[in-house]
Symmetry: C2
Subunit: 95 residues, 2 copies
């Protein structure tokens, strides 16, 4: 099982992801970001691409889509907060 991020590792990772547009929720246990695309098919295509990656990781996002926007929320339920799995998926989504 993935361990909760702590200390400097957590601080540094979240700084990096903050620059990439991610926001940590007030609880500290999840992070969110909105992704915007030109069209609905582009948004859906990106969800498929990221969905395949998420399935391979066996770590899935909570996400919603309205037309060309996708709102993503990442957390690790088993661990009750942010773990390296969330970082990894956030980095892949940000690329």
């Amino acid at each position: 099982m993935s361990k909760l991020l702590e200390g400097t590792d957590r601080t540094e990772a979240l700084e990096e992801l903050s620059e990439a547009g991610w926001t940590v929720e007030e609880s500290g246990n999840a992070m969110t970001r909105q992704f915007k695309f030109k069209t609905f098919p582009e948004a859906l295509g990106w969800m498929v691409h990221m969905g395949v990656i998420a399935e391979k990781m066996n770590h899935h996002p909570e996400w919603s889509n309205v037309y060309n926007r996708v709102d993503v929320r990442l957390t690790t339920h088993d661990a009750g907060g942010l773990t390296s799995l969330d970082l990894e998926l956030a980095r892949k989504m940000s690329q």
Copy 2:
């Protein structure tokens, strides 16, 4: 532009969709339903299938996905409520 559903047409359509698991929001202007699948890939695959149909109709759902569940909300923004486009998409989703 699609017109708002009214009168008997609306009543009958919503009765049919209620039997298919759709709920009309309190405002009367949107309807929602949760779809549940066995796995995340099945949920994502269904979103792709329905997304292509939605794109062809140029009428898009608001939807969110968490693992094997997809929550759908249908409304016609231009018309400010439920129209035949929402019925059509709801019927296709319910099949």
